[in-house]
Symmetry: C2
Subunit: 186 residues, 2 copies
């Protein structure tokens, strides 16, 4: 019939676009500079993704996919005392390599506050963690379906990440987490 389509191109540019967004943030993203940085043209970005909104959605999905992929591998599994597990999760989350993901995370949250309709399932992004953390901290939870403890653990992690990204004071953040681990451990 004719020239066959090349679906690999879209994924290649998606990967590089995700790199760029993780490196430079979502806020000031626009097609022409992005295309220039990716050695392509705005024309092709629209050709491959349809619109900027769909591009951003695809990039966010890809970023979440990457984060999930590394999450399953790196952090220590659910072994040891609760305090040890908490330390492991914090070490993994607060590592410098995760900083771009953390920044994008906060950026998306802030954008979601202004445009709630843009992120229809943003509540799920939080509640999804409860299954994971609920299982990891079941021994310090009040019963089988205690959502308060996972919520508190996530709040501490997010709050300390917020502090760390703002002040850069890693020592203080580490000590605060240590204090929380101590409180949890008794």
């Amino acid at each position: 019939m004719a020239r066959p389509a090349d679906p690999a191109r879209r994924e290649r540019t998606l990967a590089r676009a995700t790199d760029h967004v993780l490196a430079h943030g979502l806020a000031g993203l626009s097609l022409r500079p992005l295309a220039a940085a990716l050695d392509t043209s705005p024309r092709m970005l629209l050709y491959d993704f349809g619109s900027k909104q769909e591009l951003v959605a695809a990039v966010l999905a890809e970023a979440r996919r990457r984060g999930a992929a590394r999450l399953t591998g790196c952090p220590p599994p659910a072994t040891g005392t609760p305090a040890q597990r908490l330390r492991g999760i914090w070490a993994w989350l607060s590592a410098p390599e995760r900083a771009p993901f953390v920044r994008l995370f906060f950026e998306v949250h802030a954008d979601g506050l202004a445009h709630p309709d843009h992120y229809p399932d943003r509540a799920r992004a939080i509640t999804d963690w409860f299954d994971t953390l609920g299982a990891a901290f079941r021994d310090v939870a009040d019963g089988e379906d205690d959502t308060a403890t996972p919520t508190l653990v996530m709040a501490v992690l997010r709050g300390l990440l917020f502090d760390l990204t703002t002040t850069g004071d890693r020592d203080r953040a580490d000590r605060a987490l240590e204090r929380f681990a101590h409180l949890l451990g008794t």
Copy 2:
């Protein structure tokens, strides 16, 4: 000599501009729609504030001023058990009337991640809390200059606010704070 200046006008529009930013967020702010909503003109906004950057800076300063003013009055003073004080602060922070301030707070944080140079003293906005909270929770702190405990308390509050603004699940957030208060109280 001539017609005297009217400094009250600038403050009037500053107050209304702050209202507008608190109601609609910082992200999509632009002069023309803002001027229309304030029954003035972009011309006058520039005339009074010099540039958009200075306008935004003035609005943020005004918003922080309002928050500080209400902070000194509303939350219960440093009386009662640590758990009671924590509950009081949380009740005040998470009240619906504070939601616009909380949203602006997260918005500014996200913007600061992308443009750190824009907010030269953003670290101070966090460390300033330590004097206040350090004094309020001195009886549960490890010594006089323990920064870990105030850091942890702030992290819990911010993290739970993050959760609350995203999921809207007040019950779960309240229970998580109650759990933290219980951990702190022993």
